[in-house]
Symmetry: C2
Subunit: 178 residues, 2 copies
């Protein structure tokens, strides 16, 4: 997974994969079929990890807004320093392959949709608890947050500035939370 994450699909060669997996050519093809199959496995694992983390952050807790804040704080971390420069497998793959590879496209579309849904849920709970500013729609804000964090990953690729990421999140939250 790591080598695809760092180098992208086309940027990763078979020798790279062999070194990363400590497998021989024969074993790798026996286990995963081909490069594309292995990539899909790596992408699935990355997505599973991301959703599991999202659930643990947004999951039922006493304070829904705190969950959203925790989630955003995580993105501040992931868009700062070396983590920021490394970027995100999903974003990189969306830009590199989504338009040409339907299997990849479906996975990423579903991932974003799931994320949006979870965020909507958390925001709705926050709203029910009176934690949101008047007149905000959870669904719209969820999509807004999704776009924002993915954009932070893009900008963080060349400017992984922690203070800037924190300021962005604070600026946003200050306007939407009561």
């Amino acid at each position: 997974m790591g080598v695809f994450w760092s180098c992208g699909y086309h940027g990763t060669s078979l020798p790279d994969l062999l070194e990363a997996t400590n497998l021989s050519r024969g074993s790798l093809y026996a286990a995963f079929g081909d490069k594309h199959g292995l990539f899909l496995r790596a992408l699935d694992r990355y997505i599973d990890d991301a959703l599991a983390r999202l659930d643990s952050e947004l999951g039922p807790r006493d304070n829904a807004l705190t969950g959203v804040r925790t989630c955003l704080a995580g993105y501040v971390d992931r868009t700062s320093g070396v983590a920021g420069k490394r970027g995100c497998l999903v974003v990189a793959t969306a830009m590199e392959l989504a338009a040409h590879d339907i299997e990849v496209e479906q996975r990423i579309r579903r991932f974003f949709k799931t994320m949006e849904t979870r965020l909507t849920g958390a925001l709705a709970r926050a709203q029910a608890a009176g934690q949101l500013a008047d007149g905000v729609e959870p669904a719209s804000v969820a999509r807004l947050l999704l776009c924002l964090v993915e954009g932070m990953r893009v900008v963080g690729k060349t400017d992984p500035d922690r203070a800037a990421s924190q300021a962005v999140v604070k600026t946003l939250i200050d306007r939407f939370a009561k």
Copy 2:
């Protein structure tokens, strides 16, 4: 430029380039040195176009906030339908090459910084005209907008839904404009 835009750097082969430019191998290498040089030219042109458009949108006009709104409306267009699926050369390149290619990294970092600066200027003018909600900092909102629109391009790759993009922009503007 178009073929790099659609297929990325590694995804574009020499034959692709020859067909797109209607040039022979010899002529192409005489004109641009190599594939990397040609790519840099394409990237520069894309960035120049983007900044020119940004200037024409945000440039001195009677109403600074209208300029920002126009700019965002453009991103709604560019993240919807076929344009959305095509995506953005800068975002794709940032994810694919920025970490490994310093020339690319510098160009993209400068592009984002310039965009952020222009947005900050427009927002400062809007603030001076009393068009912004109380307590918002132009610089922070500029960075926020930058991340937001680049994120819209990412999400628009797999879900180029115009209504969703419009809702995101409206949700944001409603909270930051007076």
